[in-house]
Symmetry: C2
Subunit: 215 residues, 2 copies
């Protein structure tokens, strides 16, 4: 076997290993979201991934480590969507883009949002440092941006932080409380059209609540 062939085989194995880890992470996100950290079991994660639990321990040394990796992914995805906030220097466009991005995330990755919510409700034992550093930094810089809009008379004066909380809460609700929303929708998940209407209602009320008539 040539060196090149060896390299290719090695690359293939690495690739397979990566895919195995990806699969486990995806399944683990779902299980942690629906059962909480304590409720989730390695056996259940293994079962849904089609593996004995010993294999999960082979890839991720402990349940806590696996959970930490799931949380890392959730935060990475959130950060990426949150950057939509910076695309425009106009409150109407920026807030519309941000609310839309958050709603699309709630739609496409509800389990990530649930894991995050579960973790916060528990008192954030695993991610306190994220909150104290990355999240706080993100907030401070965006609050400055919102304040500059207020100072320039582009929107009504509100405490920027409470505005951010309002947007987080009302968008993430469609992921975290998806079960309740489905039950109240006669047991059917919101259609794409209904979800769009919900999104537009949020944008409509918040922008109307913040912007002056003239804008």
């Amino acid at each position: 076997m040539s060196v090149i062939a060896k390299k290719q085989e090695s690359s293939t194995n690495a690739e397979r290993r990566r895919r195995g880890k990806e699969l486990i992470l995806r399944v683990a996100e779902e299980v942690f979201a629906n059962l909480g950290f304590q409720g989730a079991t390695m056996t259940e994660i293994g079962k849904r991934a089609g593996l004995p639990k010993a294999n999960i321990h082979y890839y991720f040394s402990s349940k806590a480590k696996l959970y930490q990796r799931v949380i890392d992914n959730v935060f990475t995805v959130w950060l990426k969507a949150a950057d939509k906030f910076d695309d425009h220097d106009d409150p109407r466009q920026a807030l519309t883009a941000y609310i839309s991005a958050k709603m699309e995330l709630a739609r496409s990755r509800p389990n990530g949002s649930k894991v995050w919510a579960n973790e916060i409700i528990r008192g954030a034992p695993m991610i306190r440092d994220y909150l104290e550093t990355h999240l706080l930094d993100w907030c401070i810089s965006r609050e400055a941006r919102i304040q500059s809009w207020i100072d320039r008379g582009m929107m009504r004066p509100v405490n920027p932080r409470y505005l951010l909380y309002m947007i987080w809460a009302s968008t993430q609700h469609y992921a975290d409380f998806g079960t309740q929303i489905t039950v109240l929708n006669n047991g059917e998940a919101l259609s794409d059209e209904a979800f769009d209407e919900a999104k537009n209602t949020l944008i409509d009320v918040i922008l109307n609540g913040l912007l002056y008539e003239s804008n």
Copy 2:
């Protein structure tokens, strides 16, 4: 011992028993809120209540039954606050009263809100029937009320259901995500003044977003 004395003693014992159950329920709400259903243990509940776990089982036959009772209490308290919605036939007054009541509940009973959130995130296994009956009924009647305001030109047209979700989400956030809010507040819980400002921001944005200038 006279019959009256016997009656009094019996009443005192019943009273003590009731107080014992109350204490356990209060402690259980806190433990379920912070650890989730699976994370909460009878040992921990007993420890915080100053009792061995066998006593908890004496008062509540099983962990599931105790949890169900905690959930019952949460829903009862919520229903009472939700009635604030009916005190006025004017959107400004009614929505202000309702948002205020929800925020006061988030402030005074954050653990109840967290238990509810945990239960919904898990897929509402224990309270699906509540959602399908009591909560749905409550929604339908209040949506009709909101719709009548819209029909009478008292507020801008929005889908009443998504407005309710917005109010629930943005108020309950202050309970469910209290840990995150505290960390972002430099590790200190929101002061009464800050909480009031948050409440007024919500009322301000939502009412401004819904009502016509002339109102």
